[in-house]
Amino acid sequence: MKRWWIVGLLIALALALLSPLASPHPDGLERVAEDKGFLETAREPLYELIPDYLFPGIADEAAATMVAGVAGTLLLFGLGYSLARLLRQQRVG
């Protein structure tokens, strides 16, 4: 099992490294908002930490995207794993 989930995590990290290749076009909702004239009702976020999946302080856009992707992927692995561990312990304990 251990090897399997390491492979799974590596696949996720590989996807994160491919993220600079993502299509830059607006997604479905954004496209509809643009076409139907309500895109301008969107408000700026209250604050910005890693906006547009670009890790701050990295000039190269592709590198900034990859770092943001890898950071988020690792964070979510940790979150998902700890949440599951916590919920299971609560039951057992």
């Binding site: 996807l15 993220s19 993502a22 309500f38």
Partner: protein
Amino acid sequence: MHIPDGFLSVPVATAGWVLSAGTIAPAVRRTGKELGEKQVPLMGVMAAFIFAAQMLNFPVAGGTSGHLIGGALAAVLLGPWAAMLIMTAVLAVQALLFQDGGLLALGANVLIMGVVAPWVGYGVYRGLSRLLGGRGWKGSLPGFVAAWTSVVAASIVCSLALWLSGTVTLSIVLPAMVGVHVLIGIGEGLITAAALAFVAATRRDLLPATPSLTLPLPEGGQGGGRKGGNR
């Protein structure tokens, strides 16, 4: 399909928070009760995979892109309750750290992508698997249909939220949203089917048991086979 702040009225955004919070509470309870030990790392892998895959927008027709939601995939592999928690974690991180999806709109985004998508995907997968009796390429066919349906269903609920907010009329937003997500759903279906085929080939025992499933375990598999009680 991450709704930014501003698209939703305050009452609709608030309703999104109330409704999603109301469903997360039982999800926490049920996941704690039902989660098996081997699913603990799988929950981490699933959350990581969905986050990474969501960054990979793929092109669809007419200068538009789409990306995986992942709710159906998570629900098939881990059950709808655990899937809700995974999706909520992904959406919360995206809103809080990456400013993808609004903070006020987070409740609605959780409702759409974290509740509607997994449950619709789960229901369609279960129904179709039973109907096909284990045929359909080791769950890939029901997985494709489940994932496609989950995206279209999510786009309908998203349209309703925009309409109820007074942002756009339903007769305009519904056909537009469904129209584009019918295409994006194909991508969701292909990724979900591929991921399920990968799990079927490498870890057959992680797939949910279908009563009439008679496919043999892959050689060198875990030997113990599928246990029925992991739902």
